[in-house]
């Protein structure tokens, strides 16, 4: 059996590409607007999100048979919230500057509908192995969009990549200017809109409407 035919691979690749949480499902837009001015913050946010969604999926999936059905959403949220608080504490202890730059958006991972959606919709009814792949897949889908948007915004908004100047001074001397709108939230909206269009075209996603 080819690798790409396995259920494991499909579980990972689905959310990472054809069923991308941001571009296709239009979830998690809030943080995608807020932390994508620079690649640095987008990268840390992606890592935080990867940790939380993978661990939450794993924990919920392992406990799926003993979680009482009538309080399952509360349990899922409690697990997610605890993981987020842990991440936040860790950042404040070891990456203080970064945690200040991300400000409330680390805490807001709790309300990121992608995570609750995956734990409730997938981890509750699948084995830990698949749940982890699903978590990683969604994180990859989320992260790839975040990083692409941040790449475009940082490059055109401040002429930098990961904080390093990449646009040569001679361009500026010749009259090139950074695009101010890239630093504002509407730019992320426009970029995500264009990316959603492009991706739906490339991945052949058809609207049911």
């Amino acid at each position: 059996m080819k690798l790409t035919r396995t259920k494991t691979f499909k579980t990972f690749a689905g959310p990472a590409w054809t069923n991308n949480p941001i571009n296709v499902q239009m979830l998690g837009i809030c943080s995608a607007l807020a932390v994508t001015i620079q690649l640095n913050t987008a990268l840390v946010m992606t890592l935080a999100m990867t940790f939380v969604i993978t661990m939450a999926s794993l924990i919920v999936s392992v406990m799926r048979k003993i979680i009482p059905g009538n309080i399952r959403i509360i349990v899922e949220l409690a697990v997610i919230a605890s993981l987020v608080v842990l991440t936040d504490e860790f950042l404040r202890a070891y990456y203080y500057e970064m945690s200040r730059m991300l400000s409330i958006f680390v805490g807001l991972i709790i309300t990121n509908c992608i995570i609750l959606g995956r734990t409730e919709g997938f981890a509750m009814s699948n084995t830990p192995h698949l749940a982890v792949m699903d978590g990683l897949g969604n994180a990859a889908g989320y992260g790839s969009v975040l990083l692409s948007v941040a790449f475009i915004r940082e490059l055109f908004g401040s002429g930098k990549i990961f904080g390093y100047d990449v646009i040569p001074q001679s361009f500026y001397d010749a009259g090139y200017e950074n695009m101010g709108i890239m630093l504002l939230a509407p730019a992320a909206f426009i970029i995500i809109g264009l990316m959603a269009w492009l991706q739906k075209y490339l991945a052949g996603v058809e609207d049911e409407g």
């Binding site: 807020a34 003993i66 979680i67 009482p68 009538n70 309080i71 509360i74 349990v75 409690a78 697990v79 605890s82 608080v85 842990l86 504490e89 860790f90 404040r92 202890a93 070891y94 203080y96 200040r100 400000s103 409330i104 939230a185």
Partner: protein, 238 residues
């Protein structure tokens, strides 16, 4: 066991496990976090007097070394006298930091704590030893709306304060005010030295900050007056 009882037992157990886990993590990481906060506070004081640059990274050791060498905490009495030692903690004495270069006061730093729109805005305002020119302004903590009032944490907004004057040409105290929008468009030419550019979409945060700065600087006026008259002295017993 009924479903209800099972749910309750599960919930209680879950709370216990998560509670222990989170408390453990918070307690274990607290010393490091406090060190970061203290370091950040010191760095902001140094930023306010322009001894470190916003564009550069510094280690904790570099910050501590600079801070301990040049910055010292004192108190300012209601008559504007600068005091040290036990007298700092007496009641009507205001906290004040001095930037001391070769036994001379180079600038003084006033801690800013004032209500914003959603919560406290904290920071430091440094004033030159002439008692009237702002050396720099930094914000250490705030809970304003990200993207609107939260823009006060931006470099441009804070650098905006540099060189502004808290007294007018006649020597009367006027404080520094946040304009509604660009100073050049909104403020008469003669008042421009006392205004900084405001943030669009954050009129209220600007107003709160204006009021807060005025009240705080007014309380520090006795010290500022001494600086203006060149009468400010370091305490003998320091």
């Amino acid at each position: 066991m009924s479903d209800m009882a099972k749910s309750i037992v599960f919930a209680v157990l879950m709370c216990a496990v998560l509670g222990v886990l989170l408390t453990g993590a918070a307690t274990a990481l607290q010393p490091l976090q406090q060190k970061n906060v203290e370091n950040d506070r010191r760095k902001n004081i140094l930023l306010a007097v322009d001894m470190v640059s916003r564009d550069q990274r510094y280690t904790h050791e570099e910050i501590s070394a600079l801070y301990e060498e040049k910055i010292e905490r004192f108190g300012a009495t209601q008559t504007g006298e600068i005091v040290s030692g036990d007298r700092i903690d007496a009641d009507p004495v205001l906290p004040i930091y001095l930037y001391i270069e070769n036994d001379e006061i180079n600038a003084y730093i006033v801690p800013i704590d004032t209500p914003g729109v959603w919560g406290e805005i904290s920071g430091y305002l440094a004033i030159d030893a002439d008692g009237s020119t702002v050396r720099g302004f930094t914000i250490t903590r705030h809970s304003e709306t990200p993207g609107l009032g939260g823009e006060i944490e931006r470099q441009w907004f804070q650098e905006n304060f540099e060189g502004k004057r808290i007294v007018d040409r006649q020597g009367t105290f006027v404080s520094v005010r946040v304009a509604r929008g660009d100073v050049e468009r909104q403020v008469d030419e003669e008042d421009r030295p006392h205004y900084v550019d405001g943030i669009s979409g954050a009129t209220l945060t600007g107003q709160k900050l204006t009021e807060g700065l005025e009240q705080i600087l007014y309380r520090y006026e006795p010290v500022s007056i001494r600086f203006r008259d060149n009468r400010a002295e370091l305490p003998d017993d320091r």
